[in-house]
């Protein structure tokens, strides 16, 4: 591989890593939002009326259903975060490898 190719590969990997990090941040925001909702549901009386906004309409939903729904979403998001983090770690290794390769090449050229 030529130096140029390696450099290109390196920038590509870096931008991929950045994308993954943005995705991770988005997931964190969602996790926090759902956590707030879940906490709020925990503090509610059992007979509280809960509505879900679907499209342009508010539909009354059962409390336990809403709770279960948010719980499930939390689980899903947590799993996604784990997946995203393994991806980030792998990508970081790739980036480090590419950087080493680039450095080696540079020192050879000098």
């Amino acid at each position: 591989m030529s130096a140029e190719q390696i450099a290109q590969e390196y920038t590509k990997l870096q931008s991929e890593l950045e994308e993954l990090i943005v995705a991770r941040q988005k997931l964190e925001t969602q996790l926090q939002e759902n956590k707030i909702v879940s906490d709020e549901f925990e503090g509610l009386k059992d007979d509280a009326t809960v509505y879900k906004l679907i499209g342009g309409v508010l539909l009354p939903v059962e409390m336990f259903e809403a709770k279960g729904n948010v719980e499930k979403r939390l689980e899903f998001i947590e799993a996604e975060i784990k997946r995203c983090e393994t991806n980030i770690e792998a990508k970081q290794q790739d980036v480090a490898l590419a950087r080493d390769g680039l450095m080696k090449l540079r020192s050879q050229q000098q």
């Binding site: 939002e33 709020e40 809960v50 509505y51 948010v70």
Partner: protein, 153 residues
Amino acid sequence: MSQKIDLTQLNPEQLNAVKQQMDQQLQHFSQSLHALNVARSKFKECIEDIKTVSRDDNSGQSLLVPLSGSLYVSGKIHDNKKFMVDVGTGYYVDKSAEEAIQFYQKKVDKLSKESVQIQDIIKEKNLSSLAIENQLRLAAVRQQEQIAAAQKS
């Protein structure tokens, strides 16, 4: 995340890089702080609105309901002690005036706490930024002296 860097060990380029990084962080935190304060004042407004609407002399009060930005129909408050609160992710909960105020007050308190935290971080970063600037100046002076010495010899 605050790893220790000995500023006196860095050359001017590195100092500049660190300073840039620091400034970026500062900007980021300032933006966050601003967003936090905007959100907090919105919640505070909600509390005031609840207090106004739930006043006894406002029961059965007529009002205009916005259908769009420029279209209204007249309506009447059916129950001025009952509110529907957006708790997030598309869920809404019926609450009494007191419960609704509590809900928003809790949010305001939480945001106030976080706001203080961010302000502390910003203060700390500002100090670091100043320290870096100082080092940069020193480095510049040193460089000048070196150049002067080189010219003499």
